[in-house]
Symmetry: C2
Subunit: 186 residues, 2 copies
DNA sequence: CGTTTTACATTACAGTCGTGATGTCAAAGC
DNA sequence: GCTTTGACATCACGACTGTAATGTAAAACG
């Protein structure tokens, strides 16, 4: 056999190509051939690592969640030890907003997956779990109804940022305004 | 020529079929053939009334906005004359939430169109205008930043209702909670 | 050293897609 | 009444899709 290869490395390489295609040309342009071409490979390689297209899509969705998780961890670490709950929540919520090109790309993929999941229950399950985990975490640092509201608010802001309906300043203002109403004005 | 026919009637007939397909099988299942079949017609008819697929999609998007507008008007009229701002806003915002099968169908189509618009600037324009109009109207009855936040919150709640992440009671609770924080608890 | 197994590439297939061309038929206009 | 025209139906086209089958080369393993 040829050089033994790290399969998850190849899979993330493919998933990254997928996300580039999805971010630039929409999820409907995500085909085995386009993804393969973007990855500089052939459809055979893609087929080798993902038996089916749905498998590939599902993996890409997990990569996006992974990105968000990593960014949240980094943002939280940047706060230093034992930060105030409000700062912690703000830092995490901000990572859900598409405020730079990196997060915009992830956001577009995430949005596309919402539509994709609308007719694929098992994909929807993955998303649901992610949202619930986040809300439960938020709920450890603020009243539960407020955590619920905050998460929905952030999701809506993300949507409007993605469509250029709201500016970054507007979205951050709305986020801070809501945090003020929960934690009290500083 | 055959019986002269009302073109907009035919167009809405086609658009309704499109929305049924999109709601049940996702926007990616929306093809000229599927829509035609759902409408009990042929692709020739669809082509006759919409030169191109994009034209058809755009028209369907306008139909969805129309539905929402009609529902809002009905809900507002049901309030009786000169309602309190809070009640008015609540009635309108509620129409944006997919709380019954009718609104769920529209919501799914709307969501699918968000993804569709992500790579079609002129479609995004239509959506943006709708959101801005709504926010401006809200802003006539509440502080502007609150209107901005409310709209994003409602959009986020709609998303989570659509994916069955939040229950109707949870979403309405979040909406009322926010309205309380703006207008004061009754 | 030979065999097996892994990692890919290539090709083929059946299906669907949007679109354009062409055909048919009935009513409106002269 | 004949011609024009609008309202569709039908069919063909090239492009694209996901997937299955097959081929090939190389490294690991006995």
């Amino acid at each position: 056999m040829p050089k033994r290869v790290d399969p998850t490395e190849r899979r993330t390489l493919i998933a990254d190509a997928l996300m580039r295609v999805a971010a630039e040309r929409g999820l409907e342009a995500v085909s085995l051939r386009h993804v393969a071409a973007e990855a500089g490979a052939t459809t055979g390689l893609v087929q080798h690592y993902f038996g089916t297209k749905d498998e590939m899509m599902l993996f890409a969705l997990e990569v996006v969640s992974g990105h968000i998780g990593e960014r949240m961890e980094a943002a939280v670490n940047a706060l230093g030890p034992s930060p105030a709950p409000r700062d912690l929540i703000r830092a995490m919520a901000t990572q859900l907003l598409p405020l730079d090109e990196q997060r915009r790309a992830d956001g577009r993929v995430g949005l596309a997956f919402f539509a994709y999941a609308a007719t694929r229950p098992h994909v929807a399950e993955v998303q649901r779990r992610g949202s619930e985990g986040l809300r439960d975490f938020f709920a450890t640092m603020m009243p539960e109804p407020a955590a619920t509201t905050l998460l929905a608010l952030v999701e809506g802001l993300a949507l409007y940022l993605l469509t250029d309906t709201y500016s970054a300043a507007t979205a951050l203002g709305a986020l801070d305004g809501y945090l003020d109403s929960v934690f009290g004005r500083p």
